[in-house]
Symmetry: C2
DNA sequence: TTTATTTGAGATAAATTACTCCGAAATAGT
DNA sequence: ACTATTTCGGAGTAATTTATCTCAAATAAA
């Protein structure tokens, strides 16, 4: 079950890593994050650039530069990150890809699929990066292979 | 939310179309199915060949040939079709793609994700192609754009 | 002011997925 | 036997996703 693209997954891993740090004020270099999480530096750079453009991170160039949260991580839900890379209609699309599939003109799995994605969305939309980040740190949950 | 590959989706649509027919005994040509569902003929051919190899369909060449169910459609669950094209570990893989992610060495979304995919699996494993096919026919649910 | 370091941005390449094409093999009907 | 039709099987192409490379722009520190 590959529900998310590599971009989304790498973004979440990087953000949870950032959110789990003690010092949230200072910039952390993308190089460092990429090494820590074993993600391609250049690819991760593109992804974090996107998060900067979307107002989730802010960045600084030059020595001692890097990225940090723009908004506090307790103001960013996991859902928001998903929407950045998967699009805003992620939790409303038809499983069969039929255009115009809706309650009025449903496909055979419409109701079932609606339940599944609604449950998933409601589970993801209240949990913030801060909550998940601190839990990740405290329980030493895995972020890399 | 693109949970399944094009192959899986096309397979399901074709199977539900077959399962919704009155006459389940006769062969139906792939050409006919592809036109009815507006799916590429050659691509659908490959997909239905796979279902034939996996013992879900059986086929006949030549004039009046085509495909039909090998096992009765009330003996085939939707889950089985998904496993053919997505692999058998579809409902057990880590959302973050971390190798070895498990209850013992969990990633940050392990528990949440486990719930989601387990709920999804249990919803899909009892529903058969027959049930869904007849419902599709009776309620005139959509199978094509 | 120079240098080393770091993100920004866009081109390019590799890998995967989606789709197409072609000829061979089978088979029903004439 | 011949012909038209249909699946089979494999190779080839296109599109998308994932990853890499290069250089410019910014900036902190010497």
């Amino acid at each position: 079950m590959k529900a998310f693209s590599a971009e989304t997954v790498y973004a979440l891993r990087a953000l949870l890593y950032l959110a789990g740090r003690r010092d949230g004020e200072s910039y952390l270099s993308i190089r460092k994050i990429s090494e820590e999480l074993e993600i391609s530096f250049h690819f991760l750079t593109k992804i974090l650039q996107m998060l900067t453009q979307k107002g989730i991170l802010t960045s600084s160039r030059g020595p001692a530069g890097g990225v940090r949260f723009f908004r506090a991580p307790d103001k960013v839900s996991v859902i928001e990150v998903i929407h950045v890379f998967e699009g805003n209609d992620y939790f409303t699309t038809c499983m069969m890809g039929l255009p115009g599939c809706s309650d009025k003109a449903p496909c055979p799995v419409h109701d079932l699929w609606k339940e599944v994605r609604t449950a998933m969305k409601s589970r993801l939309e209240d949990v913030t990066l801060a909550e998940m980040g601190t839990r990740t740190m405290l329980e030493r949950l895995r972020l890399s292979p």
